[in-house]
Symmetry: C2
Subunit: 207 residues, 2 copies
Amino acid sequence: MELTQAHRDALQDILLWRRDVRHFLPDPVPQDVLDRLRKAMDFAPSVGNARPWRVLHVKSTKRRNAVIQNFEAENAKAAKLYQDDQRAAYNALKLAGLREAPVHLAIFTETEPDAGHGLGRQTMPEMLNYSTVAAIHTLWLAARAENLGVGWVSILDPKAVAQALDAVPNWQLTGYLCIGKAASDDDTPLLHRNAWQANAMTKWQEI
Amino acid sequence: MELTQAHRDALQDILLWRRDVRHFLPDPVPQDVLDRLRKAMDFAPSVGNARPWRVLHVKSTKRRNAVIQNFEAENAKAAKLYQDDQRAAYNALKLAGLREAPVHLAIFTETEPDAGHGLGRQTMPEMLNYSTVAAIHTLWLAARAENLGVGWVSILDPKAVAQALDAVPNWQLTGYLCIGKAASDDDTPLLHRNAWQANAMTKWQEI
């Protein structure tokens, strides 16, 4: 299958306009779109073809509130690491759209799956988690192509969240995602735009 | 930026025809293509916009040979985990194209970067490694759109490889990639095709 300049241009648009979204509109996401996002994950690479990602679609208000409370507690703790102006800058950032986003997904990694029969993960067991990350990134790009935003919330205690969601014991929380229509589009990361951390170009060093 | 059905179709082609490639042709990859792959990594998501990926483009035959030797030793150890028919099946798999692939990249994660000022990684420090995985996956898709294959070699001792490549002490090996023209195209994972591990569809469980 020979891919074309049109494929490269389309991928470039999707990559350029993908953001970590924290400002969502409350519009619901139609079920057929969610189905397509779910299917997109099937195309992610995984070690030993183990596909160790496990997804909880969190609809219960009670469970969502537990996640929001955990985020708020951990975010308050994180703010205390900074002093003076930097703490004020941190507190001015909006770091999650958990209250507004219509869709919440908790994405776990099964740590001892039978699938794959251990192939490719003896020396680097973290390859299972990395497979799940690739599945999250695949979903993220597919969502952007559907004109939906995704926000990855990492300011959470992963064990507390797993417990609040009654996750299976050998599931490790890899990412907690908010999905919905973004309030606005941007081709520049918000943390660059608001001067928290400027973009830096990738360098390759030859050896 | 409103993306279209053409974007979604193009992404689907790229995802469907992306493989973990172990059979490479020796054709060199032009420098302008490598430059585009390097730039594609700039568009990966990263925690705190920290962009913690560090890339060594391994050209030295001596260093490549050290990596190949490490792969062969670790692969022989891994084979011993299996018995009888399964061991024979494992040994029949070709799990890396290190000898043929024209381009080798060793991709590390800087574990304590200043960039990002710690944002988003207090409770989940693994977010730095996950950012690097997203950058690897971004490069992988960009490579496929350029009609190049990528193989992620994880049957390596990450510390031994970092040492063989004289990596900076706080760099952790996240992925070792082979890049080049694939010997053939396929829309199905090789481990499914050769019956090591069948594909499984992603499920979402509502809670």
